[in-house]
C-alpha cells in the first residue's frame, strides 16, 4: 500500500518528511535546549552565592530566568490549542454537524466537553484544536505541540478542526511536516498551562497513549478476578481451583503471621 502525500508538503519542500526517528531527534534537541537554558543560570547563581552571599537578589533574578524561559516555551506549546473567535451560531452548528459525522461517539463527547478532537495515529494520540494539534507520544509522558491551521480564517471552529482532522487522516507524516513545532517536552509542563477546559482532553489522550499491553493485561486480570477459577480435570470435568474449605489449623484470632 502506497501512503498518500499531503499536497501542502510541496510548500515546505526543504523540510525532511517527519518520521519516528525525526520525532525522537527533535524531542532530544528540545530537552537539550531546555537544559542549555537552565543549567547556566543555575550554575551562575550557585557560584555567585558562594562568592558573595550578599548577591542574593541577583541570584534570585538568575533563578527566575532559569524557571521562566522553559515555562514560556511550555506556554507556547499550550497555546496551540487556544480557542479562536467564534463564527455566527448557525455556521457553528452546521460545522459541528459535519465534524460530528467524521468522528466517533467518544471523540464527539470529548469535543463537546473540551472543544478538542482526539485522533489516534501511528505516531501517538493527537488532540486536534482549531489552530494546532498536540501529539501525545506512546507512553503518554512527552508531547509535541504543533501550530497548524486552515488557510481560510473565516471558517467556523468545527470546520477548522475538520480541516486539520482530514489532513491528518490523509497523511499523518505530511501533516507533521507542514505544521510548525512549537514545543516538545513533558506533558505535565504543558498541562499546567492549558486552559482548564482542555486539561481533561490531554488526560484522556495520555491515557490512550499508554501501552495497550498494560491495559490489556489489566483487563485480563480484572476479567480473571471476576470469574471463578477453574482447572482442567483428567476426568473431563472442570473442578474448582481451590479445594473446599477445611477447618483451619491456625488460630482464628489475629493476623496469621502474628499467631505463634
Amino acid at each position: 500500500m502506497i501512503d498518500e502525500v499531503l499536497p501542502e508538503t510541496a510548500a515546505v519542500y526543504w523540510r525532511p518528511r517527519v518520521d519516528e526517528r525525526h520525532l525522537d531527534r527533535r524531542a532530544r534537541l528540545w530537552t537539550l535546549t531546555t537544559v542549555a537554558h537552565t543549567i547556566p543560570y543555575l550554575a551562575a547563581s550557585g557560584v555567585l552565592l558562594w562568592l558573595e552571599p550578599l548577591a542574593a537578589p541577583v541570584v534570585f533574578v538568575l533563578l527566575a530566568h532559569a524557571w521562566v524561559i522553559p515555562a514560556l516555551y511550555a506556554k507556547r506549546g499550550a497555546n496551540v490549542l487556544r480557542r479562536r473567535p467564534r463564527a455566527d451560531g448557525g455556521a457553528e452548528r452546521t460545522a459541528l454537524g459535519l465534524l460530528g459525522d467524521l468522528v466517533g461517539h467518544q471523540a464527539r463527547d470529548l469535543h463537546a466537553r473540551t472543544g478538542l478532537v482526539l485522533e489516534r495515529g501511528r505516531f501517538g494520540v493527537w488532540l486536534v484544536g482549531e489552530a494546532g494539534a498536540v501529539l501525545v507520544r506512546p507512553g503518554g509522558r512527552r508531547v509535541h505541540c504543533w501550530c497548524v491551521h486552515a488557510e481560510d480564517r473565516s471558517l467556523p471552529s468545527g470546520d477548522r478542526i475538520a480541516h486539520l482532522l482530514l489532513a491528518l487522516r490523509t497523511d499523518e507524516q505530511g501533516f507533521a511536516t507542514v505544521a510548525n513545532l512549537a514545543f516538545s517536552g513533558s506533558r505535565r509542563r504543558v498541562r499546567r498551562r492549558l486552559h482548564p477546559e482542555h486539561r481533561p482532553a490531554l488526560d484522556t489522550a495520555a491515557a490512550a497513549a499508554r501501552p495497550t499491553v498494560q491495559a490489556g493485561a489489566r483487563d485480563s486480570i480484572r476479567r480473571a478476578m471476576s470469574k471463578p477459577l477453574t482447572r482442567p480435570d483428567h476426568s473431563g470435568h472442570d473442578l474448582p481451583d481451590r479445594a473446599p474449605a477445611r477447618p483451619s489449623t491456625r488460630p482464628r484470632s489475629g493476623h496469621p503471621h502474628r499467631a505463634r
Partner: protein, 74 residues
C-alpha cells in the same frame, strides 16, 4: 444520494448531489468538482474513523466528498 460539499464560512455548502445512475447529475457534479479544485480546494473522501483519502477525480461511488482549503503551519 451522494453529495459534494465545501467547508466554508457558512459551515458547509452542498455544491452537488448525484446518483451513479443519473448521468446528467454526475456530469454536473464532475464539472463543479473540477471548478473547485481549480479554485484551490482539495477534495477528500472520509473512509471511516481514522482514514481519509485525497482525490483528484470525483469518485462517483463515494457517498460524501468534502472540499477543504489547504492547511499551513504557523
Amino acid at each position: 444520494m451522494a453529495r459534494l460539499i465545501r467547508m466554508d464560512r457558512s459551515g458547509h455548502t452542498t455544491l452537488a448531489e448525484w446518483t451513479a445512475a443519473d448521468e446528467q447529475a454526475v456530469e454536473a457534479a464532475v464539472a463543479t468538482f473540477r471548478e473547485q479544485l481549480d479554485a484551490g480546494y482539495y477534495a477528500v473522501v472520509s473512509e471511516g474513523e481514522g482514514r481519509a483519502r485525497q482525490v483528484d477525480e470525483l469518485p462517483v461511488d463515494a457517498e460524501l466528498v468534502i472540499l477543504r482549503r489547504p492547511i499551513a503551519g504557523g
